[in-house]
């Protein structure tokens, strides 16, 4: 494959956004967890919640900073690499992204300062309120981003005038079934990422016989939350599948690895799709299940990829594989969460070192699921940026050259790998150190610390 400016731009966008999503996914869940801890502390007065709050706030600070700086890039990359798209869809995508910036700024920037500096300066209820507002800010951010991306997946409520997409009905753009299945899907994914990180950290402390009280609380709260949320997530995942089935049949066929129309359709569990022969190799298939999943019917006809002209088909292998990895991660998470919660209720979890190790090692699973889920959605949308209306190849900055795109890609990779390694290392150090054994000397006694510029772990 030639390294064209188009391919390089796509890789660059995929790379920078994959890197970015890790941090918001972490902080959305963590902000909700911090709110829960603060509420529990206010209600019960138990110091362990306060200790945990101060501890996770530090980690939140580092992750939040990385999310902010990597997010700034995203707002500009539409213009640098995808100038035709941004010119045409600016009247719709621009406002949606600006809502994200404006609203998130007011909530996050304003109240995050209170979290860092305000413990002794504001009333306890207001401190809790500020924590909740930061959590709301992160969730609202995610909402506008999902509306924006969903419009690219399911463009509604617009007309084309003078080569621009002109919005005619904002309610259709914001309140459609695709948004309201995809947004909860993303939020739940972020909550699960937070839950598993917290539970894994708790398991880690118990395995090392450190911070037992805090470790136990983290492990139980994380597992219980996950035990409830994973099934809900599976249901919303199904709703997301429904919108794909309805609006993006080619993507659906690619995910299913279905080359030809089938009635009733089988469900390919595992296979190696081969675009050259338009068949699957090494296929394991369950009859009729494909119709049930696609249309809730035993007899429905499901469309195959060959119904679409080759230039309108997405690549098959990536969405096919990433979808299965995502679902696989979800199922492992379900098993861990249920088994762990069951044993925890029976008070047998702490003796089961194998399960503790499994939970400790499970923390990457939600991230793998989030990233592969996004790859399914975005690669499956190809060859379009705005589905069915604007092709990816026609969206790019027309004069962008391959060398320029290559240089920028290399620079992004180098800088991101550099800061990501250090960021991960610093978060690891904070986690390994663990919460102090008594309630912390609080951060806000240092009045001149930047938001996120939290007392050094030294």
């Amino acid at each position: 494959m030639d390294l064209t400016a188009l391919l390089l731009s796509r890789i660059q966008f995929a790379f920078t956004i994959t890197f970015h999503i890790i941090f918001p996914a972490f902080t959305i869940g963590l902000a909700a967890w911090l709110t829960t801890l603060e509420a529990l502390h206010l209600r019960t007065g138990r110091p362990v919640y306060r200790t945990l709050f101060e501890f996770w706030l530090k980690i939140f600070g580092v992750a939040f900073g990385m999310g902010v700086v990597s997010g700034v890039v995203m707002g500009f990359q539409f213009g640098t690499n995808w100038s035709v798209l941004s010119k045409m869809s600016g009247p719709i995508q621009g406002p949606l992204l600006s809502f994200e910036t404006f609203w998130a700024f007011t909530l996050e920037a304003g109240f995050f300062g209170v979290l860092i500096f305000g413990r002794n300066r504001v009333a306890p209820w207001f401190y809790l309120f500020s924590t909740a507002m930061v959590a709301l800010g992160t969730a609202l951010s995610a909402f506008w981003i999902m509306v924006n991306n969903t419009w690219m997946q399911v463009p509604l409520g617009y007309v084309v005038q003078n080569g621009r997409f002109v919005p005619v009905d904002w309610t259709k753009i914001i309140f459609n079934s695709a948004v309201w299945s995809r947004f909860p899907h993303m939020i739940l994914a972020a909550f699960l990422a937070g839950a598993f990180c917290v539970a894994a950290t708790g398991a880690w402390y118990l395995l090392r016989e450190k911070h037992r009280a805090e470790g136990r609380v983290m492990l139980r709260m994380g597992l219980f939350l996950a035990a409830v949320l994973v099934p809900v997530q599976l249901v919303f995942g199904h709703f997301v599948g429904d919108y794909v089935h309805e609006y993006q049949p080619a993507k659906f066929a690619a995910i299913e690895g279905r080359w030809h129309d089938e009635q009733p359709a089988g469900e390919v569990v595992i296979a190696l799709p081969d675009p050259a022969t338009e068949t699957n190799k090494y296929e394991i298939k369950i009859p009729v299940l494909g119709s049930i999943i696609g249309s809730m019917s035993l007899t429905s006809k499901e469309v195959g990829l060959t119904d679409f002209p080759p230039q309108d088909r997405p690549p098959v292998l990536i969405p096919f594989a990433t979808f299965r990895i995502m679902v696989g991660c979800g199922l492992i998470m379900l098993a861990l969460a249920w088994l762990g919660s069951y044993l925890s209720v029976k008070d047998r979890l702490e003796r089961n070192r194998f399960l503790l190790w499994s939970i400790f090692l499970s923390f990457p699973l939600p991230y793998i699921a989030i990233i592969t889920g996004w790859w399914t959605a975005e690669v499956g949308r190809q060859p379009w940026t705005v589905y069915g209306v604007l092709r990816t190849a026609d969206s790019m900055t027309p004069f962008l050259t391959a060398p320029a795109a290559l240089i920028s890609l290399i620079l992004f990779c180098a800088v991101y790998v550099f800061i990501f390694s250090f960021g991960t290392y610093y978060i690891y150090r904070l986690l390994r150190g663990g919460p102090p054994n008594r309630p912390m000397p609080v951060v806000h006694q240092e009045p001149v610390a930047a938001p996120g510029y939290i007392a050094a772990g030294e």
Partner: protein, 328 residues
């Protein structure tokens, strides 16, 4: 409605120039000292506000995309390389703030990233301003300058000039916020930087005359534009006198006023063009359904709130740092 969004855009750009200007400047000046105490004091002087300052860049970006998408698409793609280098600089300096405190052994890495990131971001911003002033190449209403259309001796000169300007603003901020050694050093830097900026402006002016830049004709057409340089001169005089009188408060405001004057000069010289002299405000404006959606959803009430937050943020951290000195 169009005028409303032009005003918000102008406010955002100006706030960005002034606010991130001084903290980028402090970032570059960090390279002039090796003392950890001084570096700490300098970082403390911008610590509570820098990320809020940078937000105005994002705000500028999204207003531009939403309300004037043609300009957003044209400028960002034409400035592909400068924009990406600027973003990478901002990323490096953004994480350095947090990372330098995580581990003593790696602190020098992040201090270097902070200085170089600040320098790269400032320089690239100046290059872009210079390229706009000089004029981008268009054919049939489409940008046709290619990936390196921004590159010229004039734009490079402007890059260096903006670095000097930001450093001057940063030095004034340090004088205002800090005490003892940092203040003394910054106070000595101000006259040097001010003279350098003045020299830069003279060179730019000669260059513009020499190249017959189209902007010069606007000045003949619109003599009222000379009000702005006049404001700049007055500000420079007050700056000089406040330095001589060891006043810590006024230099920052005077340099800010000079920035405002420079911004006003450029904005009104190009009016009504957004990309001189190709794309006007009206031609770039988004359809009414977009502008009114943005107006009711954010411009009318969230934007004032953001201004209020910014004001409160600065009020909370007003005055000299020494009196409320924290330690890290």
């Amino acid at each position: 409605m169009v005028m409303f969004w032009v005003s918000l855009l102008a406010i955002s750009v100006l706030l960005y120039l002034l606010l991130d200007g001084f903290d980028l400047g402090v970032g570059m000046l960090l390279g002039t000292t090796n003392s950890e105490d001084n570096r700490r004091a300098m970082l403390n002087a911008i610590g509570p506000v820098w990320d809020g300052n940078e937000t105005w860049l994002v705000v500028t970006g999204v207003i531009l995309w939403g309300a004037f998408s043609v300009v957003y698409a044209t400028l960002l793609s034409a400035f592909y390389i400068p924009v990406i280098l600027m973003l990478l600089g901002l990323i490096l300096r953004g994480v350095s703030f947090e990372f330098r405190n995580q581990h003593l052994g790696t602190r020098w890495i992040w201090d270097s990233c902070f200085i170089l990131g600040s320098l790269a971001a400032s320089f690239m911003q100046g290059v872009m301003v210079g390229a706009i002033v000089q004029g981008l190449r268009f054919t049939d209403g489409q940008y046709s300058g290619g990936v390196f259309g921004w590159f010229s001796d004039f734009s490079i000169l402007c890059g260096a000039g903006l670095c000097l300007g930001y450093a001057l603003l940063g030095a004034c901020w340090l004088v205002r916020k800090c005490e003892s050694e940092v203040r003394e050093v910054a106070r000595r830097q101000i006259p040097i930087l001010a003279v350098a900026v003045l020299a830069f402006l003279i060179v730019v002016f000669i260059h513009a005359l020499n190249d017959n830049l189209p902007i010069m004709y606007r000045w003949i057409d619109r003599p009222y534009l000379f009000v702005f340089p006049a404001i700049g001169v007055v500000a420079a005089v007050v700056l000089a006198s406040s330095i001589l009188h060891h006043n810590d408060y006024w230099p920052f405001y005077m340099v800010s006023l000079m920035f405002v004057a420079a911004f006003g000069t450029l904005a009104l010289s190009f009016w009504p063009y957004m990309i001189p002299f190709e794309i006007t405000i009206d031609a770039a404006a988004a359809p009414p359904s977009t502008l009114s959606f943005m107006f009711w959803g954010e411009g009318l009430w969230v934007f004032p709130l953001m201004l209020l937050y910014t004001a409160i943020g600065y009020r909370v951290f007003r005055g000299k740092l020494g009196s409320m000195h924290g330690h890290y």
